[in-house]
């Protein structure tokens, strides 16, 4: 019945194509959640940002294809002094309501970005910012509190809003119906059902080809997203379940897009003095690393599509990645020997907490790890936690001594490193040397010196083994095969710059 209706609609559409100009496709995108706000600086949740940033653009953006921070509304920046930045803006850009995109708009937007009340989710990235002032119409001076190596990354997260309109409607209303400079503009939003955007014909840059609009649909159920991709109801689907890989791989008309996530999965091994356990001993922590076969987990639970970590928490393209370090090999014999050396020839018992339903395959991975540890005599008492309770215990360090966690800090080594500093809220290691390296790296402005610092830190962390190094997460997307050049980023962000739809 439905197919007949669809067929007749298709016939009408076909007739339209035959007489009219080349038809463009309206892309239907299925994500897990409906956005809470379309103002990108309102949250850091990728489902919100994906929709919002199709309309409201940032100063710079990080291109997933190169990993580089590329100009967008700003054309570049230079450091006058280590704490003063001159920002050059793109000429001739207007917001879709007619307001000009200029220094006033950018100064206003930076002011909003660094206001903790308005943008609490960006407080960590924004804390180095002191303020911004207009130099001329297309130049803005940003003042920093201290030299700030991840500056470019921070600038890629400042979204520019039209100040007059913002003042008129206020933050909440702006989030409901934003006005920006992006390739798409707001058309209609039926909450929890569909968010419709049309093409911004006056866009300053190059528009995606063959696409005339976007419809964002929230589809919370994994199987329903898979089904909708299969039937062609959705052109882009985010967060496909890993289990769907075999059935989708051979599917005609569907392209699977696996993306290595920024999320680093690990088993936290607390060596803090207040968490008494055999894990206080470095040899034990190393032994557990030898006892876990990451490769087997990746192959069995992620169809070989997740990435191994190389024995460090920095990813290969990141500054500070240490090419000398390799993953701990799977070597149960060595694990047993190390345990015996540490005084646990028969192993020991330990509690192991993990979230159930927060990460892809979280329970399965945890059970696999527990099984592998069991083989070297480490018996785990497994405690599954509801995601909310899990996060609470993570922040209050109640997950210790041993816990499964996936951490996805911002894409700069400073943020990755800071998670293992003794003063960090949920760290479970306190090592002065590690602290010193992280602190040095967060201040060092010289690229090569900075790289060296983090490489040293990765080597030290590898040896100290405050965690069992597991794997880099897998984000799975599916698209209509006609969609080309679509590449999401490892933090769940999708962009339509340079994307084409070819019939």
């Amino acid at each position: 019945m439905f197919s007949q209706i669809k067929r007749s609609i298709a016939a009408v559409a076909l007739a339209a194509v035959l007489v009219g100009p080349a038809a463009a496709e309206t892309l239907t995108i299925a994500q897990n959640f409906d956005p809470q706000t379309l103002w990108p600086n309102g949250t850091t949740a990728s489902d919100n940002l994906n929709a919002g940033s199709a309309m409201v653009e940032s100063l710079f953006w990080q291109d997933p294809r190169s990993g580089e921070i590329e100009p967008l509304l700003a054309t570049g920046f230079e450091l006058e002094t280590p704490t003063s930045v001159l920002l050059a803006l793109r000429e001739g850009v207007t917001f879709t309501n007619g307001e000009p995109m200029n220094a006033d708009a950018v100064v206003h937007s930076i002011g909003v970005f660094i206001d903790k009340e308005l943008t609490p989710a960006y407080a960590q990235v924004a804390q180095a910012f002191e303020g911004a002032e207009k130099v001329d119409d297309l130049t803005v001076r940003i003042t920093l509190k201290n030299p700030y190596p991840p500056l470019a990354l921070a600038l890629s997260q400042i979204y520019v809003v039209p100040p007059k309109h913002w003042e008129e409607v206020g933050l909440e209303a702006f989030g409901q119906q934003p006005v920006g400079t992006g390739p798409f503009k707001f058309s209609e939003w039926v909450r929890d059902d569909r968010l419709v955007m049309e093409l911004n014909e006056d866009y300053w840059g190059e528009l995606p080809k063959g696409i005339d609009g976007l419809v964002w649909r929230p589809v919370p159920d994994d199987s329903a997203r898979v089904a909708g991709l299969t039937t062609g109801e959705y052109d882009v689907v985010k967060d496909l379940p890993v289990a769907a890989i075999p059935s989708l791989e051979g599917q005609e008309g569907v392209t699977l897009v696996p993306v290595a996530s920024y999320r680093i999965y690990q088993i936290g091994l607390s060596s803090l003095p207040q968490h008494e356990s055999p894990l206080q001993d470095k040899r034990v922590r190393q032994a557990l690393n030898y006892a876990v076969d990451q490769k087997a987990i990746i192959d069995a639970l992620f169809f070989g599509k997740a990435k191994a970590l190389n024995g460090q928490v920095l990813r290969e393209p990141q500054l500070g990645f240490n090419p000398q370090i390799k993953d701990y090999p799977y070597d149960p014999e060595k694990a047993r020997a190390l345990l015996a050396e540490a005084g646990y020839p028969d192993g020991f018992e330990i509690t192991f907490k993990f979230p159930s339903g927060r990460y892809a395959q979280d329970r399965e991975v945890s059970e696999a790890v527990a099984g592998m540890l069991g083989k070297v005599g480490v018996k785990t008492e497994m405690i599954a936690l509801e995601p909310g309770e899990f996060l609470r215990q993570l922040r209050s360090k109640e997950l210790a001594p041993m816990y499964f966690v996936g951490l996805a800090p911002q894409d700069d080594p400073a943020f990755q490193a800071s998670q293992y500093v003794s003063t960090w809220r949920y760290t479970t290691i306190a090592n002065e040397e590690l602290d010193a390296l992280a602190e040095a790296g967060a201040k060092e402005m010289d690229l090569e010196k900075r790289r060296r610092i983090y490489q040293d830190m990765m080597a030290l962390m590898h040896d100290e083994a405050p965690i069992i190094f597991l794997y880099q997460g897998l984000d799975l997307y599916g698209t209509d095969a006609k969609l080309k050049n679509f590449l999401p980023r490892g933090d769940g962000r999708m962009f339509f710059y340079g994307v084409t739809y070819e019939d």
């Binding site: 439905f2 209706i5 009340e117 609490p120 407080a123 989030g175 199987s223 039937t231 909310g388 609470r392």
Partner: protein, 305 residues
């Protein structure tokens, strides 16, 4: 009658207040929403600002007093995630949920009751056995499973219906069927057993002896008398329906209150959870009051004073 109605309505006030207290305590005991709404690496300062903005820094009894006085005036506060009034978020989605619930209830009554009557009338025949068999499966199959199964069969394989979303009548078919499946089964079984009981009564024999046609005997004399317990079950199952929409709306991407409830619970969005719980409780109480009043319509011997 009016006096009875007034008394019942007054009695709902303590019920609703009790629900208010329980839902408030349960949600607030379940964890800190700042953990779920803000990213884990956010500074403590920003966390405090968030708590302060939403009054979460106050002692729990202060929060309760301000919440309940506000709630009595229909103000449940602003959603922690959407920064919009919680009640507005719920009411915006109520139409979709009502559409689904009414469709499911209609299917329940239109299929469940006749199936039960026929099964009872043709007791121990293949008709009866097939009704009993189907209802057994219907009651045993969880709705999320049934939902996924029906998507695979009717949307993916046969391509008759869309996989989800709301829009045309076609969009309503799978979610309404899924939501009503267990209820149809239950109502059919209850109707069947009540009818069996009634059909053996003296007044049925009398009706037949008078020379009334079988149709009249069964559907008028029989069903009317058997209907009171069926009505009770239907009234009570409104609660089940409210729970059922949570699952069904999630599976079928239906933009209703049930889905909002799930998201709000996961995010510890207290104001929204409380608004939904209270609204669902109110619906449940009112529907059951209506059911009680219908008893008197069905059976003139029942009167309320």
């Amino acid at each position: 009658m009016l006096k009875y109605l007034a008394r019942r309505l007054i009695l709902t006030i303590p019920v609703l207040f009790g629900i208010l207290v329980i839902s408030f305590l349960l949600t607030h005991l379940s964890g800190d929403p700042t953990d779920l709404i803000l990213p884990p690496d956010v500074t403590e300062e920003a966390r405090d600002a968030f708590r302060k903005r939403h009054g979460l820094d106050q002692p729990i009894w202060v929060q309760f007093v301000s919440f309940s006085t506000q709630a009595l005036q229909g103000n449940f506060g602003d959603s922690l995630r959407f920064h919009e009034p919680a009640l507005k978020l719920v009411m915006d989605r109520m139409a979709a949920t009502t559409e689904l619930a009414v469709a499911a209830m209609a299917l329940t009554i239109l299929i469940g009751v006749p199936a039960g009557v026929v099964a009872a009338y043709r007791r121990n025949t293949p008709v009866d056995l097939s009704v009993r068999g189907t209802t057994l499966i219907g009651q045993a199959m969880p709705s999320f499973y049934l939902g996924i199964l029906s998507i695979i069969i009717f949307a993916v394989w046969l391509r008759w219906l869309p996989t989800g979303g709301r829009g045309t009548w076609w969009h309503l078919v799978l979610p309404a069927t899924t939501l009503s499946f267990q209820l149809v089964a239950l109502v059919a079984r209850v109707t069947r057993s009540c009818m069996l009981d009634v059909l053996g009564q003296d007044y049925i024999r009398t009706a037949r002896a008078k020379g009334l046609g079988e149709t009249k005997v069964v559907w008028l004399h029989g069903l009317r008398n058997a209907f009171i317990p069926v009505l009770t079950v239907i009234g009570l199952q409104v609660g089940f329906l409210m729970g059922g929409v949570v699952v069904t709306e999630t599976v079928f991407s239906w933009p209703g209150v049930g889905r909002l409830a799930i998201q709000a619970i996961y995010a510890r969005d207290f104001p929204v959870v409380q608004a939904i719980v209270l609204l669902f409780a109110l619906i449940f109480v009112v529907v059951n009051l209506i059911v009680d009043l219908l008893y008197a319509v069905l059976d003139p011997r029942i009167s309320y004073r």
